[in-house]
């Protein structure tokens, strides 16, 4: 396998991570530090420190020590110019005296200073750059488990097996490519590992998520898990895992010791050195100095020597003075002498990974015996096992020397001297110190630095570590890519049953909520939008047109109390509606504000057919059902919106077409305006409502969705000889505007009551009780402050929806809808004006194309004001 690292081609061996392959090929500098651009090399080799972040195939901040090599991948260093090995910006460390702790707060004290400094700081500091075009693949999935075990080490596998033996469904989450935890690289523990890993893999009720880490343990034992596909670029899956019980077996991780130049390249944690050695066969150096307490230091020394690494000496942490070297370590000075070496191995304190327990609400307290913060009180349904619970953790005290080069926080270059300065300036609580110095706030989220920072804070303030406490653990930790949280961009799309018929007619689509509707039909011609819409308009006014209205909300109400419910929720009365009749329906809330409108048809004694506006269906259904709760009334509400297709056939010749397709008597004497029938049309059972939203003779025809496209085509075929045209939403909006029919939510807002839009006739205040009666009774008596009026433009220009209405130079209202009306040969529209202006013939000024144009107020429809045509 080969991959490209800048201009170099690097050979990798099977099983290599990027970091292991680079290290084997001699690369020692892996990143440049955030502030001082100091060279940094591998430290933890376990995905916890910030030192190996690189750009991989265009994705920034990839932890290369955890990412397997893929053939042909492109890897680049970050935050360095011109290269990782020679970074001119490392000059900044010479000027560290210019950048004391809290530099931002002390220096950039004026917005102008910040604006001047920001571009430079952004260039010099920071991490990788985001490439918007980088290939990414993100998914979300949901999982459930009786027990979720986080951590695939010895303790986690034991816990998973125990739960599996109890018959529970177990999900085992491990952030490494394969199970085993420290068994994988601490050879002394020996051959038992294969047996337990085999038993875990063989258990039928344990599901293993490898290469996955849990970044948050949320309310209700919801685990946020990020699952990575190591074999694909930036392929990540966010798992929403709900567990009955969560077992935290995240183990303990090693953290660096504090001494001057502890951040030099080739100063590594012992676990990192052992991982390189045992997992990848890479020697971290030839001549090593091991720094640590006698027991762990001797274990590591034995391992190193057995693999041919010379151990120059073992030094107790208390004896270390400083490490030396420029681009990488070349020696160590101790109280007993200086030693030259090319590797310093730190056996640092082991920190139980208790973050998830803390997030879940557990209590974490300092244990002097363990030298670590351990969970003491666990939240319900959460437990901690193994090293995460501190089982084998025993940390001796470590020295915490004050030095500008003893780095506590590697992520943002905070030294122990910086922390001391912060404390001296008064930030002597660990939470304020964290915010002031930014220690623990970088990509490692405090994993490498929290214990040292707390130690420095405690020793400087003279408090105990227990009293100093720890900073709050918050999810996500470790960090998650925003892309994974956002997930794939799925958006639900609803198509009407006639969708493909529209497509063959050259529909120009528009989105309305989740629905796609034809705005107009091009008929695959090159006519302009305006021409297409005008043709459709003319067809409806002069001959006949057909529009798909399947998006209307459709509810079927059955039961003996249906009329009672509708009387209670709608403003009109429906219990007295004769079967076979249709009535306009207006719904208001308790404050008398219009919520929705539609039609209600009584199809039988106990059967009503309710239509709602397309966008409000869910709300209306929930509103009806809420008002039904607890009443014990006999009403069953069924949502037929997706089950029924609907179309509106309108125009003077609509009867001629329909007559060809149905036996139903369509003459106005037997089937008058606002009547409804159930009949077969073209052999298809349908509900016919004689209503007239567009102001012509017409029928709204509802039928089963399966048959809707067939019926649509049958009507178009039958109408061919009469010049039928399908029409879209735009023509419908013009047609209805000429009739002054309002659209709830377009012409009304969150304060509109029926009296302000001249629909008092739809409110039956004499009903005993209904939703909004009290407020509507008051509104009926008051003079409305504003009124929705029609207007006809008296000059050229057409106001946009929302344009201002001006009276005497003062804003006096707004336009809600406006179109050019072929019937008036002028621009017409609806506008809110002060009630005083709501008089027939009043002149108002409307802003159109930046100028004020006179318009005449009218309270009548712009077309067929007497409504003769729709009754014909």
């Amino acid at each position: 396998m080969k991959f490209r690292f800048h201009e170099r081609v690097v050979e990798a061996q099977p099983g290599d991570t990027i970091a292991a392959a680079l290290y084997r090929n001699g690369q020692r500098v892996f990143s440049r530090s955030f502030k001082y651009h100091r060279p940094r090399g591998l430290l933890c080799v376990s995905g916890r420190c910030p030192n190996c972040l690189m750009n991989v195939d265009g994705v920034p901040n990839v932890r290369t020590c955890m990412t397997p090599v893929r053939d042909g991948m492109k890897v680049k260093g970050q935050n360095a110019y011109p290269s990782l090995d020679t970074d001119f910006l490392s000059i900044t460390q010479r000027f560290d005296w210019l950048m004391p702790v809290g530099w931002y707060y002390k220096t950039l004290t004026h917005p102008a200073l910040w604006h001047a400094a920001e571009p430079v700081i952004r260039k010099v500091a920071g991490l990788g750059e985001i490439l918007p075009s980088a290939p990414t693949h993100y998914e979300h999935t949901w999982m459930h488990a009786d027990t979720a075990v986080i951590g695939g080490g010895w303790a986690g596998m034991q816990a998973a097996l125990a739960a599996a033996e109890r018959g529970e469904g177990v999900i085992l989450i491990d952030d490494q490519p394969t199970l085993g935890g420290q068994l994988r690289y601490r050879r002394r523990i020996g051959p038992i590992q294969d047996d337990i890993i085999h038993r875990v893999r063989a258990a039928g009720n344990i599901r293993i998520l490898e290469n996955s880490y849990c970044f948050g343990l949320y309310e209700g034992n919801l685990l946020g898990v990020l699952q990575r596909d190591p074999h694909a670029a930036a392929a990540e899956r966010l798992v929403h895992l709900r567990a009955g019980h969560a077992i935290v077996a995240t183990g303990a991780y090693e953290t660096p010791l504090l001494f001057p130049n502890n951040d030099l390249v080739c100063v590594m944690l012992s676990t990192g050195v052992l991982k390189l050695l045992h997992l990848y066969g890479v020697q971290a150096g030839k001549r090593a100095v091991v720094v640590g307490a006698p027991a762990p230091a001797s274990e590591v020394s034995v391992e190193l020597r057995s693999r041919g690494i010379e151990v120059v000496t073992v030094v107790h942490p208390d004896a270390v003075l400083r490490a030396s070297g420029s681009s990488k370590v070349d020696g160590i000075q101790t109280r007993t002498g200086s030693f030259s070496c090319d590797l310093i191995v730190m056996c640092g304190p082991r920190v139980p990974d208790t973050g998830l327990v803390a997030q879940a609400g557990g209590k974490i307290e300092w244990s002097a015996a363990a030298g670590a913060f351990l969970p003491t009180i666990l939240p319900p349904h959460v437990s901690a096992v193994g090293d995460a619970a501190g089982e084998t953790v025993v940390n001796p005290g470590v020295p915490l020397p004050k030095s500008k080069r003893a780095f506590v926080c590697l992520c943002s270059d905070v030294s122990s001297a910086d922390l001391c300065d912060g404390i001296a300036e008064g930030f002597d609580q660990i939470e304020t110190l964290k915010r002031y110095t930014t220690a623990t706030m970088g990509p490692c989220q405090g994993r490498m630095c929290q214990l040292s920072a707390i130690g420095v804070c405690a020793s400087q303030t003279g408090r105990s570590i227990a009293d100093t406490g720890m900073t709050t653990s918050r999810p996500p930790n470790p960090g998650v890519t925003l892309g994974a949280l956002a997930g794939p961009k799925h958006h639900p799309l609803r198509r009407t049953p006639m969708h493909y018929a529209h497509e063959s007619l050259g529909a120009f689509w528009m989105d309305m909520g989740d629905w796609q509707r034809p705005r107009y039909y091009t008929h695959h011609s090159t006519r302009s939008e305006t021409e297409c819409i005008l043709h459709e308009y003319r067809a409806v006014r002069e001959a006949v047109g057909l529009i798909d209205v399947s998006t209307l909300g459709k509810l079927d109400l059955r039961g003996s109390d249906s009329g009672r419910l509708l009387d209670n929720v709608y403003t009109h009365r429906f219990s007295d509606l004769r079967p076979g009749r249709v009535r306009y329906a207006l719904m208001c809330d308790e404050g008398g504000v219009i919520l929705d409108d539609g039609t209600i048809s009584r199809l039988g004694e106990d059967r009503y057919f309710v239509t709602t506006t397309s966008g409000n269906l869910d709300f209306v259904q929930q509103w009806l059902e809420w008002h039904l709760t607890g009443t014990g009334w006999d009403v069953h509400i069924t949502n037929l919106t997706a089950g029924y297709g609907a179309m509106n056939l309108a125009g003077p010749k609509s009867r001629d077409i329909l007559r060809k397709l149905t036996d139903c008597d369509l003459n106005s004497g037997n089937f008058p305006y606002m009547d409804c029938r159930e009949a077969k049309v073209s052999g298809i059972p349908a509900i016919l409502l004689r209503i007239g939203f567009v102001g012509e003779t017409g029928w709204e025809i509802h039928c089963a969705a399966d048959s809707a496209e067939e019926l649509w085509r049958a009507i178009l075929d039958a109408g061919h000889e009469f010049g039928i045209r399908p029409f879209g939403v735009e023509a419908q909006r013009l047609l209805r505007l000429e009739k002054r029919h309002i659209i709830v939510g377009v012409d009304t807002d969150a304060l509109t009551n029926p009296y302000e839009v001249d629909m008092g006739w739809a409110v039956k205040l004499e009903k005993k009780d209904f939703v909004g009666k009290t407020c509507l009774t008051q509104a009926a008596g008051d003079r409305a402050r504003e009124h929705l009026v029609g207007f006809v433009m008296q000059g050229p220009g057409l106001p946009q929806d929302g344009a201002a209405v001006v009276v005497d130079g003062q804003p006096a209202g707004r336009v809600t809808s406006s179109r050019y009306s072929p019937a008036q040969l002028a621009g017409v529209g609806l506008a809110w004006v002060k009630s005083l202006k709501a008089q027939e013939g009043t002149l108002i000024d409307v802003r159109a194309n930046g100028e004020l144009v006179k318009a005449k107020v009218t309270m009548k429809p712009f077309y067929d004001p007497e409504g003769i045509r729709l009754r014909q």
Partner: protein, 87 residues
């Protein structure tokens, strides 16, 4: 916020399946004044503690239910269909 709500029809479900419907409180009498209606419509108790609430199981049985919830801890003490309160 990711607690579970036990739906009386469907069992324990994620709160994201539900629509919150506000506090359960008696409506004003039929002859109440507009001011009382105004108070009912716009003002909330907003209890920090245990309150009874409306929830609609939008992604489940599509039924309204009532839940007794501690608004501080999100502990759900009880859920029931309207008019079926136990105990």
């Amino acid at each position: 916020m990711s607690f579970l709500l036990p739906c009386p029809n469907c069992g324990k479900r994620s709160v994201y399946e539900f629509r919150f419907g506000g506090e359960v409180k008696p409506g004003p009498a039929a002859n109440a004044s507009p001011r009382e209606w105004q108070d009912h419509r716009f003002n909330r108790v907003n209890a920090a503690g245990i309150q009874t609430e409306w929830w609609f199981h939008r992604s489940g049985c599509r039924q309204w239910l009532e839940a007794v919830r501690n608004t501080v801890s999100n502990e759900v003490l009880e859920t029931f269909l309207p008019g079926e309160k136990r105990g």
